[in-house]
Amino acid sequence: MDEGLKNELSKQGVFTTTLEELYNWGRKNSVWPLNFGLACCAIEMIAASMARHDLARFGAEVFRPSPRQADLMIVAGTVTKKMAPQVIRLFNQMPEPKYVIAMGACAISGGPFKQGYNVLKGIDRYLPVDVHIPGCPPRPEALMHALMTLQEKIGGQHLTGASRPRHLNAEVAGEYPVPQFGAHDLVPPHNPQVWHPPAQTPN
């Protein structure tokens, strides 16, 4: 019946389009971030929500302390190996649709600290990141730019069809495995389902 209804809906193109627009409009204008900061970048994240920059203008100042009510995880700062399982667990506990912004060099790739033994070389090893903001730390404006990039991305998503985002697709698994603490490193060191580095270093 589900499938039937879906087909029905996709046949009624008009209806789905308006619904889709409404849905995307709602989602993108109400992005509540998880109140979650890791390191220096978090201070710039806070600065972005402060009077000078005022993230609230985008309706995104509702920093929810509980993952159950948050839509966006801003990974702001260095993710250490000791912290990574917690980050992933938190992300898993957020309800769909949810987004990840990797803010700052550390969150993207380990940044300046990537040579460290306890530093995860990028949160995208375990989580599907929607937007990356380079910078160390990125300016508050850069975070807002990223938010707008994210809004654009949300605005372009489709409710049905093969290109629909993961949370609308029943086949895609709903959560990401949490790595375990090993004797020397996290086990596994990355999640092959999420992380696809280029086969060879592009030069």
Partner: protein, 125 residues
């Protein structure tokens, strides 16, 4: 010409409306989840939140019995209010004697409160 109706019927309708008000969106959300955005429960997702760690120990633990003392005092004063209300409504038509009777009533209870206060019961730990 105002229509007369049973006040309780109104309350019932109001309650029903409240339920409808709450349940309709929940139902809509359910339909949405069925049609478009499938719910995907999972081991981690449906685990209890505890600051990102795995929750350890049951949350349903027993609390300090000091909390209970507040509840007792509250109950007694709630009952006091139950008697105060009719008194208050009738107050304008009552004699000084009745008022004094009520003062005695209150004082008795206040005495209990003062006793509890002095006993250090009203200390939240």
């Amino acid at each position: 010409m105002p229509v007369e109706y049973n006040p309780y019927l109104l309350v019932v309708v109001l309650l029903a409306a409240a339920i409808a008000f709450a349940v309709t969106p929940l139902f809509l959300a359910y339909v949405w989840a069925r049609v478009f955005s499938p719910r995907k429960p999972g081991n981690y997702k449906n685990a209890t939140y505890e600051c990102g760690l795995e929750s350890k120990g049951d949350a349903w633990v027993q609390f300090r019995s000091e909390y209970y003392l507040y509840a007792i005092i509250f109950l007694i004063f709630d009952v006091e209010i139950l008697f105060l209300l009719p008194f208050a409504v009738a107050f304008t038509g009552l004699s000084v004697g009745a008022a004094i009777a009520m003062i005695i009533f209150i004082l008795l209870l206040v005495e209990g409160l003062v006793w509890a206060w002095r006993k250090g019961v009203l200390v939240w730990k």
